[in-house]
C-alpha cells in the first residue's frame, strides 16, 4: 500500500516540519511512503495524507492538493483562520475569504469578512482567530481526521464532521543522552522555548518570574525564540527590572535546542488562547524528564495532573505561576520522572507510527471491505425479505463487524 505524504519539511522551520522529520522514518519502516513536493505533480498512491497547520506559507500548497484529491487530514490545530486568509486574501481571492466566513457564520460572517476586506475591522486572524476557526472547508475534504488531542477532535465533531477521527499522540523524540550547555546557568534556570508573544503568555511569565526572583535572586529565565511583531521583550524586561536575570536567544538549531533545554531546571510552556495545537516543545521537555508548567487549556489540559503543573488562565494566573515555579523547583525530580515516563509510554514513536498505519489502511481500504461484506449481507438479507440496504449496513456496524 502506498501513501502520498504532504507536509512541510526542513528547511522549513515550522514545528510540523520537525514533526514529519521525526515521523517519516518510522512510517517508512511500516508502509510505502512517497513524499509529495511543492510545485510537483501529485504522486500516485492508494491514500493521501495531508498535514494541515495554520501557516499559509507552509501549508497553502498542501490544502490546494487536498482540494484536488480527498484524503486523511492531520489537523495539527483547529483554528485555521490565518491559513485560510493566506490562501484567499493572500492570493487576491477576497471572495474565497468571504465564502469561508459565510460557511462558518452565515450572512453575519460574510459581512464581517467584508469589514476586514474594506479595512473597517481589524484583521480577525490576528485579533480573535479562535472565534472564527474557518476549518470547515478542510473538514469537508477529509475522508478521515488525525488529531493529537480530544480538544481538536471534539471541535471537529461540534462543527458537524461525521468522518472517522483518530486521536494519535504527538510522537516524542527518542533520546539517548543530551549533554546540557554549560554557558547558561541559574539557580534555578527556568526555560521557555518558542515564539515570544502575547499568546504564549510571555508578559504573565515575566511578571511571575520577577516575583519569583525576589525570593530566589540566583534564578535566571532563558527565553529561546524570536519575538512577535509589536512585542517588545526588551522594554518589558527593563520595566520589570529583569535585564540581569533573563537570557534571550533567537533561533537555535536542533542540537543546540536540546542542550539548552537539558540545562534548565524547569520549563514553562504557556498558551492562551489556544488554537487547539499540540506543543512540540512541551513534548521535548517531557522526554527530557524536565518539570513542566503549562496553561490549563486545550491539549495541555489533557495532560495528566501528576505529569505537569497546570496554571489556570484567570485573574490569579501570575500568582499561581509564581507558586508553580517554586513547586516545580522543589519537586523537580519527581515531576520530571513522571513526565519522562509519560512521554515514553504515551508518545512512543513506534506506537504513533503504528497508529498512523492503522488509520491509513482503514482510510484506503475500509470502504471496499465494507462494500464487499455488506453486499453479501444485503443479498442474503434480501433473500429472506429484508431489502433495505441502509438498515442492513447499520446493523452490520452495530454488530461491530464494520466500522
Amino acid at each position: 500500500m502506498k501513501v502520498a505524504y504532504y507536509s512541510p519539511l526542513p528547511p522549513s522551520r515550522s514545528g510540523i516540519a520537525d514533526y514529519s522529520t521525526l515521523l517519516l522514518p518510522a512510517l517508512r519502516e511500516r508502509v510505502d511512503v512517497v513524499v509529495a513536493e511543492h510545485g510537483k505533480r501529485a504522486p500516485a498512491a492508494d491514500v493521501a495524507l495531508y498535514h494541515v497547520g495554520n501557516d499559509p506559507d507552509a501549508h497553502g500548497w498542501i490544502v490546494d492538493a487536498l482540494y484536488k484529491r480527498r484524503g486523511v487530514v492531520v489537523l495539527h490545530e483547529y483554528v485555521l483562520h490565518h491559513l485560510v486568509a493566506g490562501i484567499t486574501i493572500g492570493r487576491r481571492d477576497g471572495r474565497g475569504y468571504l465564502d469561508a466566513m459565510e460557511r462558518e457564520l452565515g450572512v453575519a460572517g460574510r459581512l464581517l469578512g467584508l469589514g476586514v476586506l474594506d479595512n473597517l475591522l481589524p484583521l480577525l486572524w490576528e485579533t480573535q482567530p479562535e472565534r472564527f476557526p474557518l476549518a470547515g472547508a478542510i473538514l469537508e475534504h477529509a475522508d478521515a481526521l488525525i488529531v493529537h488531542s480530544s480538544f481538536v477532535g471534539s471541535k471537529a465533531r461540534a462543527a458537524g464532521y461525521h468522518g472517522r477521527i483518530w486521536r494519535i499522540p504527538h510522537p516524542a523524540w527518542p533520546l539517548d543522552h543530551v549533554s546540557p550547555v554549560d554557558d547558561v546557568a541559574g539557580d534555578p534556570l527556568i526555560g521557555c522555548f518558542g515564539y515570544l508573544n502575547m499568546n504564549k503568555r510571555i508578559p504573565e511569565l515575566l511578571e511571575a518570574f520577577a516575583a519569583f526572583r525576589r525570593d530566589r535572586p540566583g534564578a535566571r529565565l532563558l527565553l529561546v525564540g524570536a519575538a512577535g511583531e509589536r512585542f517588545d521583550v526588551q522594554r518589558r524586561l527593563e520595566r520589570l527590572g529583569l535585564t540581569e536575570g533573563v537570557t534571550r536567544l533567537d533561533y537555535v538549531p536542533e542540537d543546540g535546542l536540546w542542550a539548552l533545554m537539558a540545562a534548565c531546571d524547569v520549563l514553562v510552556n504557556l498558551r492562551y488562547p489556544t488554537m487547539g495545537e499540540t506543543s512540540g516543545s512541551a513534548i521535548r521537555a517531557m522526554s527530557l524528564g524536565k518539570p513542566l508548567i503549562v496553561s490549563d487549556v486545550g491539549w495541555f489540559h489533557e495532560l495528566p495532573d501528576d505529569v505537569v503543573l497546570k496554571v489556570p488562565v484567570d485573574d490569579y494566573e501570575v500568582e499561581v505561576l509564581r507558586a508553580a515555579l517554586g513547586v516545580a523547583v522543589e519537586h523537580g525530580g519527581q515531576l520530571g520522572a513522571a513526565a519522562r515516563a509519560y512521554a515514553a509510554r504515551y508518545h512512543d514513536l513506534g506506537g504513533v507510527a503504528d497508529a498512523y498505519v492503522e488509520a491509513l489502511e482503514m482510510a484506503a481500504g475500509g470502504e471496499a471491505v465494507a462494500d464487499a461484506v455488506l453486499w453479501r449481507i444485503a443479498v442474503a438479507a434480501a433473500e429472506i425479505g429484508v431489502d433495505d440496504p441502509a438498515a442492513v449496513a447499520r446493523a452490520a456496524r452495530d454488530a461491530g463487524i464494520l466500522s
Binding site: 500500500m1 484506503a364 481500504g365 464487499a372 461484506v373 449481507i377 461491530g400
Partner: protein, 339 residues
C-alpha cells in the same frame, strides 16, 4: 450450569482443537453441568469472507435455548469468540494468525492491497471488541497470551489444558523416536527424517496424516526401514507407541500450545523440540524434560543420539515431564472457566 462451548469447525478437518472442545464438554458433564458444543463451519478465504464468518457468530443468539437460559459460553477460537453473550469466557487456543504473526510471511493470507490491509485491521478490531466483551480471557499457553498482549494489548491468564485422554503408560524404551503430528510442512517432520539420514542407528516412527506425507516419504527413501510411517492410529495403538518409544520429537514452527509434549510426558518420555517451537518450550526444558535444539537435522540427530546413549537420563527427563503434565487437570480448567 448450562454451558455452551463455542468452537468453529473446518469441515472434514479434525485436530487438537476439536479434541479439546470435546474433552472440555466431557469434563463439564462429569462435573454435573449441562454442556454442549455449538459450531459453525469455518471458511476464512478469499479476502473479506473471513468477516462474514465473524458476522455469523455475531448473529447467533446463545442467551437461551428452548426457553431456558444458557449460563455461560466458553469460546475457543476466532471467530467463535465473536459470539455475544453476557457471560462469555474466551479460552483462546489461537487467534486468526494470518492477521497477526503470520502477516507478511509465507503463511499469511493478506497482501499489500488496501482492501487486504483493511480486512486485517477489521479482524484486529473485531478481536478487540469480541475479547474485550469477555468476562475473562484465558490463553492455552504463554505463547498465545503473549501474542494477545503484543498485538491487541489484551491481558490473558494462561490456562493450559490436558491432552486427549489415552491409556497412557510407561514401558521399557525400544529405541525409536516417535513423531505424532499432522504431516504438514510447518510441523518440520523433515528435520527428523533428515536426522535419520545422518545417523544410521536412529529409528523413527511417524504417526499421523497430512499433505506433506508424500514429500516426507520421498525424503525417507533409501533409509533401509529406518523411518516407518504408520498413518493415523487408534488410541490404544497411539498409547502403545508412546509407551515404547525412546523419546518424542515435536518441533513445529511457533506452535500455539501443542498437546504432544503432554502426551509424551504422561507416557514418561522426554521430548526433542526446537528453540523456535513456541508453546512447547513452556514445558520442554533442556536437560530437564527433554532436549531443546536448533531447528536443523544435525542438531536433532545429535539430541536423539544423546538420548539413545543415556537411556537412564532420558527416563528421568520423561518422568520429570510427567510430574509437570499431571498437574494440568480438567478439574482445574473447569474451576477456572466457571469461576
Amino acid at each position: 450450569m448450562r454451558v455452551v462451548v463455542a468452537a468453529p469447525q473446518v469441515p472434514f478437518v479434525r485436530g487438537g482443537a476439536e479434541l479439546m472442545a470435546e474433552d472440555l464438554v466431557a469434563a463439564l458433564r462429569a462435573r454435573g453441568h449441562d454442556a454442549e458444543i455449538v459450531s459453525i463451519p469455518f471458511k476464512w478465504y478469499p479476502g473479506t469472507r473471513v468477516l462474514d464468518q465473524a458476522l455469523l457468530w455475531r448473529l447467533v443468539d446463545l442467551t437461551e435455548s428452548d426457553g431456558r437460559p444458557i449460563d455461560r459460553v466458553i469460546a475457543t477460537k476466532f471467530p467463535a469468540y465473536c459470539v455475544r453473550h453476557p457471560d462469555k469466557v474466551a479460552w483462546v487456543l489461537h487467534q486468526f494468525r494470518q492477521a497477526y504473526d503470520y502477516d507478511r510471511t509465507e503463511l499469511g493470507q493478506f497482501d499489500d492491497t488496501p482492501e487486504d490491509r483493511a480486512t486485517r485491521r477489521a479482524i484486529e478490531r473485531l478481536d478487540a471488541v469480541a475479547l474485550g466483551e469477555a468476562r475473562k480471557v484465558y490463553a492455552t499457553s504463554r505463547n498465545v497470551a503473549d501474542r494477545l498482549q503484543r498485538f491487541n494489548g489484551i491481558e490473558a491468564e494462561v490456562l493450559p489444558h490436558p491432552p486427549q485422554s489415552l491409556p497412557y503408560r510407561e514401558a521399557e524404551p525400544e529405541g525409536y523416536v516417535l513423531s505424532v503430528n499432522r504431516l504438514d510442512r510447518a510441523k518440520r517432520i523433515d528435520l527428523l527424517v533428515g536426522a535419520a539420514k545422518r545417523d544410521p542407528s536412529l529409528r523413527v516412527v511417524i504417526a499421523g496424516e497430512g499433505p506433506d506425507r508424500e514429500r516426507l516419504e520421498r525424503l525417507a527413501t533409501g533409509l533401509n526401514g529406518q523411518v516407518t510411517f504408520v498413518g493415523r492410529v487408534d488410541e490404544e495403538r497411539l498409547a502403545d507407541l508412546y509407551a515404547r518409544c525412546l523419546a518424542v520429537y515435536y518441533a513445529p514452527v511457533d506452535e500455539d500450545f501443542g498437546m504432544v509434549p503432554y502426551e509424551a510426558f504422561l507416557s514418561a518420555k522426554p521430548v526433542v523440540t526446537a528453540v523456535d517451537a513456541g508453546g512447547p518450550l513452556e514445558v520442554v526444558h533442556d536437560h530437564r524434560t527433554g532436549a531443546v535444539v536448533q531447528p536443523d537435522a544435525a542438531a536433532v540427530a545429535q539430541a536423539c543420539a544423546y538420548l539413545a546413549t543415556h537411556v537412564d537420563e532420558a527416563k528421568a527427563w520423561g518422568r520429570a515431564g510427567r510430574e509437570l503434565a499431571e498437574r494440568v487437570t480438567w478439574d482445574a480448567c473447569v474451576d477456572a472457566l466457571l469461576s
